[in-house]
């Protein structure tokens, strides 16, 4: 009698422990794919955070740093002195493409194939628009303003003073009023062709500071160029791979293979998580590089 009870108890206990560990239970009430997408995004967030923290500590370690409003003040069609306008348009493109992505996921829950494909293609358009804007921004910075991974022509004055030469690096003529500058004022050093050698050279104007010391306009901290191209490039690469995956999944949706799975287009939901993350990272890249 007693033995039978013990056996029963033992069996129940064993059944319980087996149940908890033998699979089939979902403590997070989500699929494996979605959970792993979340953890991938978490690890990616750490990569981006590492980059942005590197930007912050290098900026803190430099006595001067380029002012974003001055660096990012050009836009296509010959627009100059329009601080942050172009990059605001880029941000809006990403926000809008995030919204169209949410719409695609919603249509997926309703098993509406055409809706999914339509909204995903709009999302792809938004992503391509963003990439085109970034391509223009990079081209302008590298081609017209000669910024590179190792050189940064955007500098900041450390104290008040006057220029001793004009913009082309020639001494002022008789009667010309020398240009003055203020501390923390921004400048961009241009490249000009040297008449004698035919080589492109930086025009670093001679200056006289208000305390009487002489100097030349220095190039800005080189880390700025490297950080800019690596961080916005890494983000741009995320957008590019997002566009590729969006296209693949849009084609698959159109072909009907997700409809056959009858899981509310979960694949669209997963790429949606990734796409929102790209927008999320841009919030911080925008803050750190352009706003602060």
């Amino acid at each position: 009698m007693a033995t039978a009870e013990t056996v029963l108890e033992h069996e129940v206990h064993e059944y319980d422990s087996k149940d908890a560990w033998s699979g089939g239970k979902e403590p997070f009430k989500t699929s494996y794919g979605k959970l792993m997408m979340w953890y991938f995004l978490l690890s990616d967030a750490f990569t981006f955070a590492g980059f942005l923290i590197a930007y912050g500590s290098l900026r803190f370690s430099s006595s001067t740093w380029p002012v974003p409003d001055f660096v990012f003040s050009t836009a296509p069609f010959g627009i100059h002195h329009a601080p942050l306008i172009f990059v605001t348009i880029m941000s809006f493109l990403l926000i809008i493409s995030s919204v169209t992505m949410v719409r695609a996921v919603q249509e997926g829950h309703r098993e509406n194939k055409n809706g999914v494909v339509f909204w995903m293609l709009l999302t792809v358009l938004g992503g391509l628009g963003f990439l085109s804007c970034q391509a223009w921004e990079w081209t302008n910075l590298m081609g017209a303003e000669h910024m590179s991974v190792t050189t940064n022509p955007f500098g900041t004055h450390t104290s008040d003073g006057v220029y001793l030469e004009d913009e082309h690096g020639h001494a002022y003529k008789e009667g010309e009023k020398p240009e003055a500058f203020k501390a923390r004022g921004s400048y961009l050093i241009h490249k000009h062709e040297n008449e004698a050698t035919g080589k492109e050279e930086w025009v670093q104007r001679k200056v006289k500071y208000s305390d009487g010391t002489l100097g030349v306009q220095e190039l800005g901290p080189p880390a700025f160029g490297a950080l800019f191209f690596f961080i916005t490039g890494f983000h741009g690469f995320h957008v590019l791979s997002g566009v590729v995956f969006l296209l693949i999944i849009a084609i698959n949706s159109g072909s009907g293979i997700y409809a056959a799975r009858r899981n509310g287009y979960e694949m669209v939901e997963k790429i949606g998580l990734y796409w929102h993350f790209v927008d999320l990272v841009w919030v911080f890249v925008f803050l750190v590089f352009y706003l602060l």
Partner: protein, 143 residues
């Protein structure tokens, strides 16, 4: 999902678009204000610069919260899932403090080196002491 009706969830999406767009515009306005593009001379005040920075960081964190909780549906996930993704990011608080502190002290060293390089040195030996000829004596140490 299925927490809202189809029509209500579409409305919520467009409300989200307006919210994110509006917050972004405010951020850009504050940034331009702090750099003296709205009111001339505002960039001279450190207080304005720091306050604007803090406000923009706060608004960006709000945008991040909105994207994760509404667009990525974290609001509808189990609490354990949300915490397992969100809590690890708190490690970044330490990283930010440590690395910014490091950057700041780096700057202090650079400034000190610049200052020391600008000081005038005396190549002569100090009274009574015979020093090697590559040793220079700073004025404040001269007897």
């Amino acid at each position: 999902m299925g927490h809202l009706s189809y029509e209500a969830s579409i409305k919520a999406v467009y409300r989200g678009l307006i919210l994110l767009g509006f917050v972004t515009l405010i951020e850009v306005f504050i940034s331009l204000l702090a750099k003296g593009h709205v009111i001339k001379g505002a960039e001279q005040y450190k207080v304005i610069l720091y306050t604007a920075g803090l406000v923009m960081i706060g608004l960006s964190l709000y945008k991040a919260y909105f994207i994760v909780y509404d667009f990525m549906h974290m609001r509808y996930e189990v609490k354990g899932l949300a915490m397992s993704v969100l809590l690890p990011t708190l490690l970044l608080v330490w990283a930010i403090i440590a690395f910014f502190q490091e950057g700041g002290s780096w700057k202090a060293r650079r400034d000190q080196i610049k200052e020391k390089n600008a000081e005038e040195v005396d190549g002569k030996t100090q009274g009574g002491l015979s020093l090697r000829n590559d040793v220079y004596v700073l004025p404040e140490w001269r007897g």
